[in-house]
Structure formats: C-alpha cells, structure tokens
C-alpha cells in the first residue's frame, strides 16, 4: 500500500511542473486504482490567460471543467449504452430502421444519397468501422488505390463558430436547429462512399478494411433523436438526472466558470485565448457528440469507474455490450487497445484549444487521464499521462 499523502503530493508536483515547464495555462491529472476504490486527482493553473495569474477567481479548481476532445466519442457511446439499456435502441439498430425514408429511391434521388450505409449498425457508428468519414482527410489516402472518399461540404459547426458575426447566428442556437443539423449531417454522410483505409495514415485501424472517422457518432445521436423526438442534449440531461443517480461531472456546451480554450502563439511563445472556440455558439454545437464534452477531474474519474467491470453498473448499462462493440480492438472501437500498453481501451482528444488523453485497464481495475484547456507547442496531456503511468508503477515504493 503506497503512501497516499506522498502520492498526492507527487501527483500535484508532476501536474504543476509539466504545466509550468511548458507554459501551459492549466493541466489536470486523474488516477483511478483498486477497482475504483482509490481515486486521486490534481488540478493546476488558471482559467483564462488574459486575466490575472494570481487572482483567486482565475485559479482552476477541482470543480472546473476541461474539454476532453475526442474522448467525447466513447463518452457519447456510454450515454448511448444507457439509452440502449432502457430498450430505446440497440447496438444492432440500423440507419434504415430509424430513417426508413432512406429506403425510398425517390428520397435518395432527392438528396443524392446512396445505399452504402443503410444497413450500418449503431455499434459501427460508435467505432471506426462504419466507413463514414466525416471531415477526415489523408493526403496519402487521397492517392491511394484504396481511395479516399469525398469530403463533406460544410461539415462542422466550426464554420459557424468562425463566422461569429453571421446574422443567422441566433437561429442556430436552439435544440430544434440541433436536431435538424444532426439529421442533415446524417444525410450528407449518406451521400459518400465508404472510407477504405489502406494508407500508412490509417491511425492504426488495420483490423478492418472498411473504416472511417468517428464522426459517425453524430449519426448515432441523430438516430436517438429521431427515435425519441428529443435533442441529444435533452437525452443526456435526462440520463444524468434520472439514470446515473449521482452527479456525473461531464457536460456539453460552453466551458463554465470563466474557463477558456487556449492556443499556442508561436510569435510570442505563449498561450493565448482561442476565441474561435470561446464564443456562445459552443453552447449549441451539433457535432459536440464527437468532441465537445468537458469533464472535471471527478467526472473523468467517474467515467473511468463506469468502465471497470469489477464495479456493478448493471442497472445503468451493460458494460460488456458497451465494451465489445464500442471499444474492443477487434471491432475497431472508438476507444481501442493496441496491445502496446496492455490496456483495454484508450482514447486521446484534441481541439484547437484543448487536449486530453485517457487509458483504462479494465482487467487491472484502473485507469488514468490527463486534460488541459490548451493546445499547441507541447502535448502536456500526453507528457502527464506518462508520468501518471510511472506513479502507478512506483505506487508501492512512494
């Protein structure tokens, strides 16, 4: 049994040192061990680099949120698992079952969609095996004989975010617009060819010949919206309130409490606000199910605990049904294990103003995560993650 006081002190030092050494605005680390019975975390830094570094009101606290980037994908899969537990959908529900209009030739003619994805299943949309590409571009794959598919026009809310003065901005800030945009995104995805990985930029997903970008998770949420008539945001709120029973400190929308996204300014060698993201449209982002969720350290710890099979969460969701299609390497899941570290599932995340990394060793009953609301220069989340691994290895000696 390690000395928890010393371990906490060491954890605090690691977080602080990496953060200050690389000039990052903030950084957080999470360690979950002993089948979830031991949870340690540390937060360091400030919320907003444009404000006083010493003001108490600008210090990041344990209750502050960090954007988790693409870790949002498996988190969205977790929320979907909760809906599936309620019998609303299943992992094998197909696109055409939820959107039967796609079976109609005249509907497909009208929209220009094809039949490539009509039988794509829910679990495939939460993995990298659907062949739906989202916005992904691979320069190597473009000329590869396996081919890259064509891009989506206007694929991302970021186009809206960057055009913050657009007079139409108010019309996009409501859940009805979100439901339209997610269905619209689905239709646009259904116009495409299936992505065929084959280049050396296949992100390691060589387990399947047909693969794709995890943005298929947005299509999955559009399916849930059609099935229930509710926006994905409303469904998440209901799950958090009615199903999880305890406060899961993972949220969508903007970063609360004055926390900001930051990017690295090479000219000054400092991090500055990334105001392309720090705007009110973040509260209504139709693609947030793939990269727009935020977690506190306790929220991330709780998500790791949900993934530890030693803890009985059977009333909330079926962990095996969630892990097998969504995270198992043989299924190409959004959170995958490649054997390098012996962990069962992992994911990284990054936006233009944040970075995060997570590893969960289900068979060892533990997990780690690092998060920062900045992106650029150095991958401080990745650096911290390796230090968290060292702390785990040295646990008994500290």
């Amino acid at each position: 049994m390690g000395n928890l006081v010393k371990i906490q002190s060491l954890l605090n030092d690691k977080v602080k040192n990496i953060c200050t050494q690389h000039g990052a605005p903030n950084l957080a680390g999470v360690i979950v061990r002993d089948n979830g019975n031991t949870v340690m975390h540390s937060v360091y830094g400030i919320r907003d680099v444009s404000k006083s570094k010493t003001a108490a009101s600008n210090q990041m606290k344990k209750t502050d949120y960090f954007n988790i980037g693409s870790i949002t994908k498996p988190v969205s899969g977790f929320f979907m698992a909760c809906l599936i537990k309620k019998g609303i959908l299943s992992w094998n529900t197909t696109i055409e079952e939820i959107f039967p209009e796609c079976r109609s030739r005249s509907f497909r003619d009208s929209n220009g969609i094809n039949e490539n994805f009509l039988k794509t299943k829910m679990y495939e949309l939460f993995s990298h095996v659907s062949g739906i590409t989202g916005t992904y571009f691979h320069s190597a794959a473009k000329d590869d004989s396996n081919g890259d598919t064509d891009p989506l026009r206007y694929p991302h809310d970021h186009i809206v975010m960057y055009d913050v003065n657009n007079s139409r901005k108010p019309e996009w800030q409501n859940y009805e617009a979100m439901k339209y945009l997610r269905y619209w995104y689905t239709i646009l995805c259904l116009k495409k060819r299936k992505y065929q990985f084959g280049s050396n930029q296949d992100m390691g997903y060589k387990n399947k010949h047909v693969s794709g970008y995890g943005a298929g998770a947005v299509v999955a949420t559009a399916m849930a919206e059609r099935k229930t008539g509710k926006a994905w945001e409303q469904l998440l709120d209901e799950i958090k309130t009615n199903t999880l029973g305890t406060a899961l400190a993972i949220k969508y929308g903007g970063l609360p409490a004055g926390a900001k996204f930051h990017k690295y300014d090479a000219g000054s060698g400092k991090y500055i606000l990334n105001d392309d993201i720090n705007n009110s449209l973040l509260n209504y982002s139709s693609k947030f199910p793939v990269g727009g969720m935020h977690a506190t350290v306790s929220g991330m710890a709780q998500y790791i605990r949900y993934n530890l099979p030693a803890i009985n969460h059977a009333a909330i969701f079926d962990i095996n049904a969630y892990h097998t299609p969504v995270t198992d390497v043989t299924q190409g899941g959004l959170a995958i294990g490649n054997g390098m570290y012996g962990h069962h599932l992992w994911h990284t995340g990054a936006t233009g103003g944040s970075m995060a990394a997570m590893r969960i060793y289900t068979n060892q009953g533990r997990g780690i995560a690092a998060m920062s609301n900045c992106n650029g220069d150095k991958n401080v989340a990745g650096l911290l993650l390796e230090e968290l691994e060292k702390i785990h290895r040295d646990w008994e000696l500290i």
Binding site: S106, D109, S110, G112, I113, D148, Y154, R168, A177, Y183
Partner: protein, 323 residues
C-alpha cells in the same frame, strides 16, 4: 408575395420582400425567416438582405440535400436576377447576377433538382462542382406568354435564356414544380378566363408534352403556387379564389389526372398569392400567404392534405406590402 422552401422535413425558409422606399412601392429588399421544426415555431426575427433591390417578390428553391438555396427576383430593369446561397450563407450579403436579357412583368417562378459533389484539393480545401444541378426559372414576358431559362450548373451560367412555353397567354405570374430526377416539369398560370392552366414536360423540359390545359373549373384572383413530390406523382396547386380564400387541387398519379380540383383550405382570407412547398413524399404540405393584417400566415398538413393541423396561424408579427 412569399416564397418558401422545405428541407429534410424539418427546415422551412420563408422569403418575402419589404419596402425599401415605402413612398413609391417600387423598391423592395429580400427578407428571410426560418423554422427548424416543420413550422411548429419560427426564428425570432426576419433578416434583411442588404444587397439587391427588387420590384417583385422572390422565387425560391433548394437542393434536396439542403446545401444550396436559390433565389430569383425582378429588379428595376425588369430583368430577373439570381442568387445562390450555399449553406451557411450570410443572408445580408447576397450576390445577385442577371439571367439573360429577357424582361418581365410580375414575379418569377423557379424549380430545381440535383445536388453538388465535392472533392479534396488538399488538406484544407475542397472543390465543389454544381454540374448536374439543374435550375429552371420562369417568368411572364411583355407578350403575356411564359418564358423560361435553364441552367445545368446551379445557376453559374444559363445555357438557355429565354424560350416561350407554347402560345398560352396569362394574367398572372407563373408557378413551377419539378420532380427529383427532373423528368417532370410542370408550369402553372392564371389565364384570361381566371382559371388555372398548366403545361408539363415528362422529359426534363426538352419538349412540352402538353401546353396548355385548364385545371378544373375554379376561378382565381391571384397567381398560383405549386409543389410536387420527389417522384413527381403528387402534384399540388394553390390559388386565391374569388372569396379571397386559398383553394387547392391535387394529382396523385403524376400527369394522368387531377384527383381533386378545387377545395378551400380553412377559412383564412388573403391579400396575396399563396406560396407552397411539400416534403419529398408529398405527405407534409406547407402553404403561406399575406393576411389582411399584412402579416404572413401559415397552413400545414401532415397527411397529404387530408386534414390541415394548422390553418391558419401567423408566423411573425412583421407587416409586409403585397406586391
């Protein structure tokens, strides 16, 4: 007075024009309001386009995938001007281009089909082609005949502008609708006898199978509005009757016959021509018009017009002038 487009059974864009110089009623600017929930609720405010001053109301259409919206209006030189609005367009700053040299009375009509395709140019840029996106615009010439123009690249250029459709002459502006594959093209107008007449093509307007024939015996006081399903089998036509109510007719088997012509939609009375659109399968139908209070009202059916769950309801408090 209004025009409207319906995308993916959820989004409705309504376009109208408002007085730019109220003293002479010859200068109007385009306005837009949107719903994202099949007309259940509407955005808070109309957005005014600051580019383009018109003497007519606008015609509108959209690609089936919802990526592009097209607008046409008549400016003070009596020529028709076209704008393509690629999503996410800024409505305040539209770019208008003239369609040929034809001059017209009244407002244009428009229909379109086809969708864009895109390719990667490099990591940060894509190339989009509008080849195959067909846009057809119709207007009433000085000779009172209907003339039309055609583009096969989303309005980037017009390979034909302008050609008359038969010898019919009309007392109203036209209406038009086409199927998703473009085979069916149907045009409607109010004749000298105040009945609604129509012409149609079943080969993408290469030739006109029939031009012109009246639809039923109803007589009207406005230009018609028209919509059709993606397969071209359900065709809907609307007009303002002598009682100032909106009446409609429909066909369910394409050009074979009119199953019903005519019956009124609710008790609402109007000062303008109607505008209308429908979902891909024709199940959902939306109709809009200017009420006596100068506000725009809506009707909606979710069952092919068997019933109207909204008939009528104001979409906004803003007042407009009928042109």
């Amino acid at each position: 007075m209004t025009s409207s487009v319906f995308s993916l059974e959820r989004r409705i864009d309504v376009f109208a024009v408002s007085d730019f110089l109220p003293t002479n009623l010859t200068s109007f600017r385009a306005e837009r309001l949107v719903s994202y929930n099949n007309g259940d609720s509407w955005s808070a405010n109309w957005i005014t386009s600051e580019n383009g001053i018109f003497q007519s109301s606008l015609a509108a259409s959209a690609t089936g995938d919802g990526l592009d919206t097209f607008l046409v209006g008549r400016r003070n030189d009596d020529k028709f001007y076209f704008a393509r609005l690629p999503e996410y367009y800024e409505f305040r700053n539209l770019n208008w281009n003239v369609i040929g040299k034809g001059v017209f009375d009244g407002k244009p009509a428009m229909c379109s089909y086809g969708n864009t395709t895109s390719e990667w140019l490099n990591r940060n840029n894509i190339s989009t082609t509008y080849q195959g996106v067909r846009v057809m615009v119709f207007g009433k010439g000085r000779d009172k005949k209907y003339w039309w123009a055609s583009s096969v690249n989303g309005g980037a250029s017009w390979h034909m502008a302008w050609s008359p459709i038969g010898n019919g002459v009309f007392t109203s502006s036209p209406a038009a609708a086409c199927s998703a594959n473009g085979n069916l093209v149907a045009v409607f107008g109010k004749g000298n006898d105040d009945r609604i007449w129509w012409a149609y093509s079943t080969n993408g307007a290469n030739t006109w199978d029939m031009a012109w024939a009246p639809i039923g015996k109803g007589v009207f006081t406005s230009a018609p509005a028209a919509a059709c399903s993606a397969d071209g089998k359900r065709i809907y036509v609307f007009g303002r009757g002598k009682d100032n109510r909106y009446w409609w007719a429909y066909a369910t088997n394409g050009v074979q016959q009119w199953d019903m012509a005519w019956t009124p939609i609710g008790e609402g009375v109007f000062t303008s021509m109607p505008s209308a659109n429908c979902s891909w399968d024709g199940r959902i139908i939306h109709v809009f018009g200017l009420g006596k209070d100068r506000r725009i009202w809506q009707a909606r059916s979710n069952d092919f017009g068997a019933s109207w769950d909204i008939a009528w309801r104001k979409i906004h408090s803003k007042k407009f002038t009928n042109i």
